[in-house]
Amino acid sequence: MDNIGHKTVYEPDRFIKMGSFASWKEMAISLFQSRELIWRLFVRDFSAKYRQSLLGILWALLNPIITVGIFVFLNRAGILNIGETSVPYPVFALIGLSIYGIFATGLSVCSNSIIGAGSMVVKINFPKISLVIASMGQSVVDFLVRLALVIILFIIYGIAPQWTFLIFPFTVLPLVLLTLGLGLILSLLAGVFRDVIHLVSFFTTLFLFMMPVLYPAPQAGIFAALNAWNPLAHLIIGCRDILISGRFSDPQSFLWASVFSVLMFLTSWRIFFLSEHRIAERV
């Protein structure tokens, strides 16, 4: 980064005066220049998190295993009727939970990322978006660990994986962008209202049961109607389809949900960029 001779101007409404093209360009440059910082912050969070722990990264597995275990038990005991799934239920549930985890863990770590960063937000000038993106990395790592368990289950149950496993990283991208988009906004809001943190944990639990994560998408009823308009549900179903059957059951919905996610991310990124300096004043 060569800043010598580079002139910086700070004034009120700087980006309005700049014009939108110039400010979008500055956003892109700033994000590109932050790539190394994002990586460092990610490595920092990752290595600090598991430094004083015996099980380390395996903790990422405990939560889904217990949840899946409970549902398998409820299903077998006949308390809950999950219905027919195309693969054995434990595999189905674990895949659903792992995909949903990208959203749930991601949203929780993102919304905490700025207020959790401590005094550096107020004492050092750096692109704060790197904190949010770096913390999103945690949820991706958790997902990869869970995916490894999914593959082990595939082998145990003798399920042949589809070739579409290879394009899975692309199908999961809209979900990551949607999470980041929401996370960026929530991290800003959490700087002003701490309530956001509690709301996030409440809603991610609620959504887990409202959306077809642990059960197949219902064909009729109130949840079916709700999910029809829920981009998150379509993204989860789409990602799961690609892992299990290799074919989207509802490609159209997945497509509009993906477009929605990209727009959501761009909007949030813009909002974050335009107002991030306000956070240093309010945290």
Binding site: K7, L37, R44, S47, S119, I124, V192, H277, R278, E281
Partner: protein, 413 residues
């Protein structure tokens, strides 16, 4: 803006809000307005807001060092954060040419669980260094920080001195063109301070600009060629550091009557200090003296009960709270016998003030003959300023006379 001006501050104002409720409400309003691209109309004050900085203007050129002085809460740190781009001005404009390095809090961004080595890389990245740059400077940073084998221990095991040294080491090695420093040199031992100063002098020599916030008049006078005095959000004075410091010290004494907060006071008050005053050699009461002046400090004492051989003492502190000088009648082997209830005495201390320019505080005290139990001890009962026409650094003015004698006479043809 001439070519060698690196910082240009024009009419910059910044507002703050006192109440948390308003802060939250305005925070959301501002974020919402910024988010949809509306002007936040930041030039207007809303209910509960005030100008923490008001129409501040100044310039800093290459190679200049600007010291910023002022009381706590006057806006010094806010100004530094504006220069660093952490805060945006609500009015006015700031232009910065070159890469800015800031030390507003040393070690901000250190993760306690990570080792010194890992933290150097993280902190370096936060300050805008690439991995390559850090690799190149790594040994220099470690040497400068002087933390030895601790480099591979988690920083939570570091002493506060080591923590500061590492933070400072990383920050000065990111090679800024403009360095902003907030009162961080006050920590650390003497050896490290000296190291920091020599590093800062290196910057100065390399035509970089430095803005330094400090409460230490000695540091500002010794290091900065210019100083700005910030008071309640406005620049009261800016110019050569000696002049500004002089004005500031005079002002600090002026506000004594209105704003002085007396320090703690303890003792059973069976003998009570009723007054303390400072006089010059002509017997005139003064608040500002020149370094080396003869002075007289008179302490009035009233006894409420009989007292056997009490000890009268005096303690001088500088603006940083360091003990500069203390004496008492016991150490002068003075015995007085018994003072009776109702008796009033004046204790006079005569001395030359071989002090450096600063604000000083005086604690008078009366103690029992054991030298431990207090009748009365009053913190900061008297405050005065010392100015110095001849520049010296340190905490005392030994008033050296200097001579140089040539041993041999060189003949040149």
């Amino acid at each position: 803006m001439t070519n060698d001006t690196v910082i240009k501050v024009e009419n910059v104002s910044k507002k703050y809000c006192r109440e948390l409720k308003h802060t939250m409400l305005y925070g959301i309003q501002d974020i919402a307005k910024n988010a949809i691209g509306l002007s936040s109309r930041s030039e207007r004050l809303r209910d509960g807001e005030f100008w923490a900085l008001d129409a501040v203007s100044f310039e800093v050129k290459k190679g200049e060092t600007l010291g910023i002085i002022g009381a706590n809460g006057s806006g010094k740190t806010t100004l530094l954060k504006l220069l660093n781009g952490i805060f945006m001005p609500d009015k006015g404009r700031i232009e910065i040419s070159g890469k800015v390095g800031a030390l507003i809090e040393v070690g901000a961004g250190f993760h306690p669980m990570l080792t010194g080595r890992e933290n150097i890389y993280v902190n370096g990245a936060i300050l805008g260094m690439s991995k390559k740059e850090i690799d190149k400077k790594f040994d220099d940073i470690v040497n400068f920080a002087d933390i030895g084998d601790f480099i591979d221990s988690p920083v939570k095991h570091y002493s506060s001195g080591m923590y500061v040294r590492l933070g400072f080491a990383v920050a000065v090695h990111c090679e800024p063109d403009i360095l902003l420093i907030d009162e961080v040199l006050a920590v650390g031992d003497e050896g490290f301070r000296r190291k920091c100063m020599s590093k800062l002098n290196e910057f100065k020599g390399a035509e970089k600009a430095i803005v330094l916030v400090s409460h230490s008049m000695e540091l500002i006078q010794g290091f900065c060629n210019r100083a700005a005095w910030v008071d309640a959000g406005v620049i009261k004075d800016i110019g050569t550091s000696a002049n500004v410091i002089d004005n500031y010290l005079r002002h600090v004494v002026d506000i004594r009557q209105t704003a002085e907060k007396r320090g703690r006071r303890w003792g059973n008050r069976d003998a009570e200090i009723t007054d303390i005053r400072l006089f010059d050699s002509e017997g005139k009461e003064v608040e500002i003296i020149e370094s080396g002046d003869k002075t007289l400090i008179a302490v009035q004492v009233r006894f409420k009960k009989n007292a056997e051989n009490p000890i009268f003492g005096l303690l001088l502190r500088n603006s940083e709270g360091a003990w500069v000088y203390g004496t008492n009648t016991m150490w002068h082997d003075m015995k007085f016998g018994t003072f009776h209830a109702g008796e009033e005495v004046t204790v006079t201390f005569r001395q030359r003030m071989y002090l450096v320019a600063d604000v000083y505080y005086v604690d008078p005290s009366i103690a029992y003959s054991d030298g431990i139990t207090s009748y009365d001890w009053q913190e900061n009962a008297l405050r005065f300023s010392v100015t110095s026409s001849k520049r010296v650094v340190g905490i005392s003015n030994l008033d050296s006379s200097i001579s140089v004698q040539r041993k041999t006479t060189m003949q040149t043809r």
